[in-house]
Symmetry: C2
Subunit: 701 residues, 2 copies
């Protein structure tokens, strides 16, 4: 869906146009006129003949033709009626500015549901309600009360907060930042963020998609479609409301380690969405992505006329994990041949405080040729001799001439003394930053994006499994309303998906327990077996390291004597006698189904690594082999698993495979709400890892 | 030293004044005149009669009186001569603008040493060379070529980079930010950063001290004096050049864990210095510290006219570790009584998009009264009805009337539409931020500063120790040029400072070893004993867990047979038979003497906590009990030591005492360059911790 009728309609009707200054119905009309909108404008107001010189109509029907876009500003109770009118004259696109819907409570929610019904029936697509409108500078369309029409540019902006959009517009206009379109999506009752992002994806005039969101309507689809679009255009999003969930993510309980915020992070990572912390950062990023080529790698060269800011840039490059470029000998020789003796011809190239524009021009020209340099930051401080204006011209000229394919970012420090230069940079398509740190942070976002773009193709391996077996267990539980699957059947499920579990059998007498243990070989573990006892340790229902038949028989009898006293309600089926898994490291493979984004896989190492250090990583299922491996790499635990200080490492691939297998299980069974294998004991490479314990809970679909 | 002659001199001579536009000697003269300097100005230039209407003198002597301040702009080779002239006419204060000294190489360094000699002899104090000059707006003194005189204010600024100072001045002038003084310290050959900071400390017009530094001349004194000043005035510093050292800090070798950057961090922490990441952040902080009272605690209330920015502020408050204020019932009732029904009367208080200034005025008035609120952020987005100007006036009025003692920070988002309001806020002393995040980060810096200010008095406990013993060991080693102290004597040293070490004796025969072991009780450890073998394990010289006399005898003989083959050069004195310390956690107490800041204590836990997780903390010695405890609290290790999941914790106080004892040792013996006790084995509270191994190296003083 292109939403073209919203951005470049041939005619616009304004239902609720007003002649009273200060009223939204007046503001939108005058904004539309002031922006120079070239199409027809039909103000609709039964009480007026004309507004601002435009002929006024009592209703849509009396126009005599079908407006391509209708803007609705009437009170909330009247909106449904206007939509019915739209349906009659076959209007297909509307913007509902009016507030007083879902956001004000149950009554408003009903009204909103009603207008959605009417629109669906009539095939009308609408933006809003409770929004600021739509702006498309290239079409001279300012169908909003957000502010003046900005200059045309290549950033498509979407905002879930109208107020923020107004502030952004004001800021952008002050800084000469251009947009292809801006959309305030309001309550997004019909057209939502993804519709707009998709439309921006198809718009040739939009090169960068940016936005502010508080929620995502359909997480699953969002990830899929945003990933597809990110391959063509970068998507830069601010997402607020992160911390309540963030607190949850830090909680020590494994099951809740994956809060909503973590799911958003994972979804954005998967989809290549670049997350921005603030409006300023979003502007910083958007300008570079809109005007500069993507860097081919992490090396950065700096050209400066002062040491201090050069050091600040170097610090930032290292802190951000980029690489401070090592200039080639040829570059250094060429620089040394023309720059003064005191100049620094190593990175950061210091053209000295008395540098005029020519030194910058010369140095930038040489440095851009260096194959060791993949991006350049040009720093300037306004000193006595400094030519900010001419230097800006030189930078624009060299970048334009060379077409090096390398991004060049500028940071002219100061205000009045560099202002003229900054304007020239902006007009010349060189993004300008207020600090070396901001420029470097922007380069980091670009480098990360390139890494994402060049990621290997996602190939999810499908393991041969016994799906039928799992189906029968899951169905039986759901039929009976049992949402927690007991240990035995949870193990059957993971066995069906290729996991090895410890050998063992249920004993009902002490003697039988001794015999089973004898067959398994010592040492063994005893676990009380009862559907009513979930936390076995709490009632003394787990005994490890039993080394003889006698010890096993004693432990059995003690459990049978003591546990019924503690839990007289529990139906005890016997005691599980199990081989003891001794060697290897204990890790956790977990899954928590996020309401928006679906199954979120979790990996961590048991003990202090999770409990004290919260050292866990998350990724949305299903997983490719690379993604599973990346989950391991994203933890500090990885270093321990790999083997610290000559200690032998464990089978990393086996853990990655375990993650993929669980990911396959939870993708194939959306009924599984939460599960973990804990501990999953992994030994040296080549040995079979053992899923010692598993916990699975279901939800009705 | 007040440096008053530099900030408010009665007369200024400019040696090297020029009539040629663009020359520094012209720029400074005209800046001085344009700034309205009220004192006498004496341009010195033998080739001119007058410059810009001012009578010119051929030299200082011919003025006929002694100028209070002399600005020197002549070429580097001539500066010494000018200083001699200054000495003759009893000038006491000079600013040497001229470059071409230390910064250009060995020749320049010599010149610089010469001018320092002349100045010292004549009792002349000077700023520079290679600097931009001094600016003191309150005295209408612009003795610089940095830019126009800013408005008077209460920020004292010091910069080690002249170019950066020029940029800062330009930025400040554009934003109407005022200063008490600005000093470019250049090569700081005489007057250094600490002299200026001390002078700012005494200046009544300076409320906040801010600066950009690349190095600190005398770390030790800096910490002491900056700490004293921070009790009266906040010191906000940018310090660049952090990352080369930062990389060192992340190295896995314990000894080098404390790089220079870590020392700076520790020094700033001790001295209460507030570190800033960028110019923007420094401005953000400086404005709040200069104009607002310090918050009494971490709770923040937010008033906004839009949901989005309110959520962004809430996120930032939580992310920064501040507390989102819970408004009292009384406050909520009062707010609800007058605000529209749809308004949110919980924090963040949402006065709604159509709010005029009156709602802000009302809400701020009520919220400031709430005892649960310790600071307030006022957010505004420019919507259709918004009155940025009137709202700013209302905020200024309420803050002025109430004198609540609580900081109020504003964040008016946008540009042209809020500009008038922003100007009113600035003039009214309400700091304005470009994003909710910046405002909240500023509050966080204030809250941290208050925490530092209200820290308990530093009382360093002096343990009774056997100092004489250590003196004799250290002296003996230094006399013989031995800089590494062997294990036996290193243990004697720490025993003299109250540490318990494992019991044990040297055996020279297998039988003797068996007997010693028998007396100590099993298990025991055997360690090869040779001054030539530093890394015992590498040659098979350590054997742990020996459980019988036979095992001890066997191990002894194997060492005696094998080790001489591996290390034929080593003089073997015997084998140490030592009790085995079994229970408890192993931690490391270390010290590394930083060349600038002196002994830097290190604490960490052995194994993965240090090697993989780099979980260590640092603090400058000597340590108070609180500081030692804080070192533990600053690590994640602390949670493990305290006891995870019901595990019993270890004796935290014993570790803190160990840290204090080592701090005392290294403070009393500056000859100790590096040392660590590793492992320091700590058991349950009340048990004696054991220093199992110690390593000490010396340096000549």
């Amino acid at each position: 869906m292109s939403l073209q009728s919203f951005f470049g309609p041939k005619s616009v009707a304004i239902v609720g146009a007003s002649r009273q200054k200060g009223k939204v119905g007046y503001e939108i009309l005058t904004n539309l006129v002031a922006g120079g909108y070239p199409g027809k404008i039909f103000p609709i107001n039964p009480k007026a003949d004309e507004i601002e010189g435009l002929k006024c109509y009592p209703d849509l029907a009396s126009i005599g033709e079908t407006p391509e876009l209708v803007i609705i500003i009437v009170p909330a109770q009247l909106v449904a009626g206007v939509l019915e009118e739209c349906a009659k004259v076959r209007v297909k696109s509307a913007i509902i500015i009016t507030a007083g819907f879902k956001e004000v409570g149950p009554e408003g929610k009903k009204l909103e549901e009603e207008i959605v019904r009417i629109a669906r029936r009539a095939g009308i697509r609408f933006i809003g309600p409770n929004c600021l409108g739509v702006i498309a500078p290239g079409h001279k369309l300012n169908a909003s009360f957000g502010g003046d029409l900005p200059v045309p540019g290549s950033i498509g902006y979407i905002s879930q907060s109208g107020a923020l959009l107004a502030a952004i517009l004001d800021l952008a206009n002050a800084n000469g930042i251009g947009f292809s379109s801006l959309v305030s999506i309001g309550n997004k009752a019909d057209i939502d963020e993804l519709d707009v992002i998709n439309a921006f994806g198809e718009q040739p005039e939009t090169k960068v998609i940016a936005g502010y969101l508080e929620s995502i309507t359909d997480g699953d689809v969002f990830v899929r479609e945003a990933e597809e679009i990110s391959n063509r255009k970068p998507i830069l999003l601010m997402k607020s409301g992160s911390t309540a969930a963030g607190a949850k993510a830090a909680s020590s309980h494994t099951g809740s380690l994956a809060g909503g915020e973590v799911a958003y992070e994972s979804a954005f990572k998967r989809a290549g969405v670049i997350r921005c912390d603030s409006i300023k950062q979003q502007f910083d990023f958007a300008q570079a992505f809109a005007s500069q080529p993507l860097p081919q790698g992490p090396t950065v060269a700096v050209i400066t006329n002062a040491g201090g800011p050069g050091i600040m840039a170097a610090d930032a490059i290292e802190e951000q994990g980029l690489t401070f470029a090592k200039l080639s000998e040829e570059t250094r020789k060429k620089l040394a041949a023309k720059l003064p003796a005191a100049a620094n011809v190593h990175n950061p190239v210091d053209v000295l405080g008395d540098a005029l524009a020519d030194r910058y021009e010369f140095a930038l020209d040489i440095v851009l040729d260096d194959p060791n340099v993949q991006s350049v930051v040009v720093l300037l401080t306004p000193q006595a001799m400094t030519q900010a204006k001419e230097t800006a011209e030189a930078v624009v000229k060299i970048v334009g001439q060379k077409k090096s394919g390398k991004p060049v970012l500028a940071c002219f420090l100061g205000a009045a003394k560099v202002d003229e230069g900054v304007q020239i940079l902006r007009r010349g398509g060189i993004p300008q930053y207020d600090s070396p740190e901001s420029a470097v942070t922007t380069l980091k976002a670009m480098v990360d994006f390139v890494r994402w773009r060049t990621r290997p193709k996602r190939v999810v391996r499908l393991f041969p499994v016994n799906r039928r077996k799992v189906e029968s267990i899951v169905e039986r539980h759901l039929r009976r309303g049992l949402l927690d699957i007991g240990e035995a059947e949870a193990k059957e499920i993971i066995e069906a998906y290729g996991f090895a579990t410890p050998k063992g059998s249920i004993a009902t007498t002490a003697e039988q327990a001794g015999n089973i243990a004898q067959q398994l070989g010592f040492p063994v573990v005893l676990k009380i077996w009862s559907p009513d006892i979930l936390h076995k340790s709490d009632v003394g229902g787990v005994k490890v390291g039993l080394r003889s038949e006698q010890e096993v028989r004693d432990a059995f009898d003690l459990m049978m004597y003591r546990i019924p006293k503690k839990r007289p309600d529990a139906h005890i089926l016997g005691v599980l006698v199990q081989e003891m898994v001794r060697s290897g490291k204990e890790v956790i493979i977990g899954m928590h189904r996020d309401p928006h984004f679906g199954p979120l896989m979790m990996f961590g190492m048991g003990g202090i690594m999770v409990e004290v250090l919260k050292d866990v990583s998350f990724y949305l299922a299903p997983l490719t082999a690379e993604e599973a491996k990346q989950m391991l790499l994203n933890t500090k635990t990885y270093h321990i698993l790999k083997g610290v200080r000559g200690q032998e490492g464990v089978d990393i691939e086996a853990i990655a495979e375990g993650l993929q297998r669980v990911a396959q299980l939870v993708t194939e069974f959306p009924e599984i709400k939460e599960m973990d294998i804990n501990p999953f004991v992994v030994g040296a490479p080549g040995t079979t890892p053992i899923a010692v314990d598993a916990r699975i809970s279901l939800e009705k679909k």
